[in-house]
Amino acid sequence: MTTDARIHVHHVTRVEGHGDIIAEIADGVLKQARFAIVEAPRFFEGFLRGQLYSDVTHVASRICGICACSHKCAALKATEVALDVTISPQTDLLRRLCFHGEVLSSHLLHIYFLAAPDFLGLPSVMPLIAGAPDLVKRAMRLKNIGYDLAALVAGRHTHPIAMAVGGFTFVHDPKDMLAMRERLVDIREDLTASVELFATVELPDFERPTEYVSLKHPDRYAFYDGDVFSSDGHRLPVRRYREAVTEHVVPHSTAKHARWNRPEYMVGALARFNNNYEQLHPAAQAVAERLGMDPPVHNPFAITVAQLIECVHCVEDAIELIDEVVGRGIDPAQQQVEVRPRAGQGVGAVEAPRGILFHEYEYDEDGRCLSANHVIPTAQNLANLEADMREFVPHIAGESTDRITHLLEMLVRAYDPCISCSAHMVRLPHG
């Protein structure tokens, strides 16, 4: 039985970006548990200053290659608020459709390629290529339908093209939409197989109730739009996001930590699941039941399961969105509304796959950026992740160092941290 352990995982693998796990137990007592972000900072908020609004939204998606659509949409929404642009209902529908593509690809990448090896006791999916080629091909099919869905709407997933302030730069072809619909219908089978695979997985036994923060929309499971909502019962319009997100710099991290009503809060798939369960597509709710997910779920390892449930929702909702888009007919006149630069400030929020994401910009009268601020999901999760680690480590302190290390890595991975983007957190220019 271990009573002393020093754990330092340098550059946790199978996560986006660079982070270290540092944990120390002495005499069975936890001395420290940290997840240190060691990614090189990139200073987006700094260098976006001076750029034209259209170039700001172009560059904004480059914050993250995985959540490129989320960053793009958050930037577009913030900019559209700032420039007082109202997009057409058609654009709104198409952006929501694109979002499902991103959530699918991102979640499935995480579920199969980053998290699943943990459950299967493997270091990566590579051994499966020879061992279980069908599983790998299924994973690729699933992941790629997400990319292709995003590409159908935006030309490419990483980085989306065609999405501009005010709408789209091309007119979508209903034929392509219907072809995608067929693929979505077919992919249900692969999703079902994935659900069955997950039904056999046993999650580490750990629960820690926390504050869950996500967008909330009156009519639908919120991804693209909604108010800022806390499971502690608070609700704010997006433009007042600063009241919810209080950031502070911690020396061990290039990213900042955030808090709202409690010392920390959780964002992401599980937060959305807990906050918006009622609005999940019935098929997704059925899967939740099948997987024993009864909200509220307080086990952070279940984030991955919540992601899978969201995938089912995204596929079903994407089918319905396509039916709606095609049913209304695609009107070229609605693709793009006129945009005129003006001075203004705006906030845009979306649910990126990893949780709520805020972009805020201020423009001068020529549409040039005066200031930018990005609040990124992984950064918001960091405090909560560390709180989980602090509570989890004593639970497992009796295990071997290797096992503790492995479990901590699993915990970090469950959060699906996306560090490359969390490193651009910036101090809010107050005022």
Partner: protein
């Protein structure tokens, strides 16, 4: 005088619909992603066909000389095997403007020159062609190069008249296409209306060269226009758009591609442009047209001097595509006239 018939407005969709039922048809249609702009592409139904359209970015030569064309495939067996992959499906190309018909004729000549090239004639033999008359814009100067009323290369030619289209039947294949169609004899009135259309069209061409092709060829050949070339090249991006949109340009590049398994692949021919910096670069780094002005000059000479002497026609149909495509605002008519003027002044002085 070819047979001339009339196809009424009502009969037109049925006619093209039947062609589409018979086999692939390429023609001008609205761009799916950019409504309001047209290009040549395969038609799904007669509704797709747009007979009144502004000159397309890419000329219909792409039906016979695709921008990227697989010349053959290979397998790296021992010995290696080469496999022809040419598509032999017959098709119909419709809605071709006179300048573009002329462009096809010029490429017929260029590719047939010994030693002849095999792909172009093989593809040309696959197709029936229907021409249509057009409405010029400010870039068109077909009247300067004699392509305004070209009927080259086509089997049928349609001119708008009040009750539909006057159909000129120019070949047996054209006659064949009309066999079960709803066409009637043309009346004098129909002929008169078609002629009126042609006259109006000619009158609507406002741009023009200030010299005949023959004179221009001589002026170019004898003059020294380095100053003009320098001025143009200071503005030119060397982007090649003038060549890649030209119906008479036929330069290409050839490259090999392996398949991913590395056991076979294909040799691919791609459109090329003499305006690109590396067009005349050889291994070892020597570039025989390294400077931008040399390339600009080459383009004018090739179009209006070298090929004119070789084939007796300028290799320019007056379609104006290069001027439209040039985002650096280099206009073929303006530059040509600048040269003509400079040459004449030179002669006088």
């Amino acid at each position: 005088m070819p047979t001339e018939l009339v196809m009424t407005h009502e009969a037109v969709p049925g006619f093209f619909g039947r062609l589409i039922d018979e086999g692939p048809v390429m023609g001008p249609r609205e761009r799916a992603r950019q409504p309001g702009f047209h290009h040549f592409d395969w038609l799904d139904s007669a509704d797709d066909l747009v007979l009144e359209y502004q000159t397309t970015t890419i000329p219909p030569k792409k039906a016979f000389f695709p921008p990227r064309d697989v010349l053959f495939e290979f397998d790296l067996t021992d010995p290696p095997e080469f496999r022809a992959v040419r598509d032999a499906t017959p098709f119909t190309l419709v809605g071709v403007h006179p300048c573009d018909l002329e462009g096809l004729r010029l490429l017929d000549d260029a590719y047939a020159q010994e030693p002849a090239e095999a792909c172009w004639p093989a593809n040309r033999a696959r197709a029936r062609i229907i021409g249509v008359d057009c409405t010029p814009d400010e870039y068109c100067f077909c009247t300067s190069v004699g392509s305004c009323h070209s009927r080259a290369a086509c089997d049928l030619f349609l001119t708008p008249i009040e009750r539909g289209r006057l159909v000129e039947v120019l070949t047996g294949a054209g006659e064949e296409m009309l066999r079960v169609s709803d066409v009637t004899e043309a009346s004098d009135e129909d002929h008169a209306q078609a002629q009126q259309w042609r006259d109006d069209k000619e009158a609507a061409v406002t741009a023009g060269l200030d010299a005949s092709p023959a004179e221009f060829a001589d002026l170019l050949a004898t003059g020294d226009f380095t100053d003009i070339w320098h001025e143009i090249s200071s503005r030119c991006y060397s982007c090649g758009s003038c060549n890649t949109t030209c119906p008479t340009c036929f330069c290409f590049d050839i490259n090999d591609e392996f398949d991913l398994g590395l056991t076979g692949g294909r040799r691919v021919r791609t459109w090329d442009s003499c305006q690109l910096a590396e067009f005349a670069l050889v291994a070892g780094g020597h570039n025989f047209r390294r400077l931008r002005w040399q390339r600009v000059k080459h383009r004018w000479h090739r179009k209006f001097d070298y090929l004119y002497r070789e084939f007796g026609t300028p290799y320019c149909t007056g379609c104006g595509r290069c001027s439209r495509a040039c985002t650096a605002d280099i206009n073929i008519v303006d530059v040509s006239n600048q040269i003509i003027e400079a040459a004449r002044q030179g002669v006088q002085g």
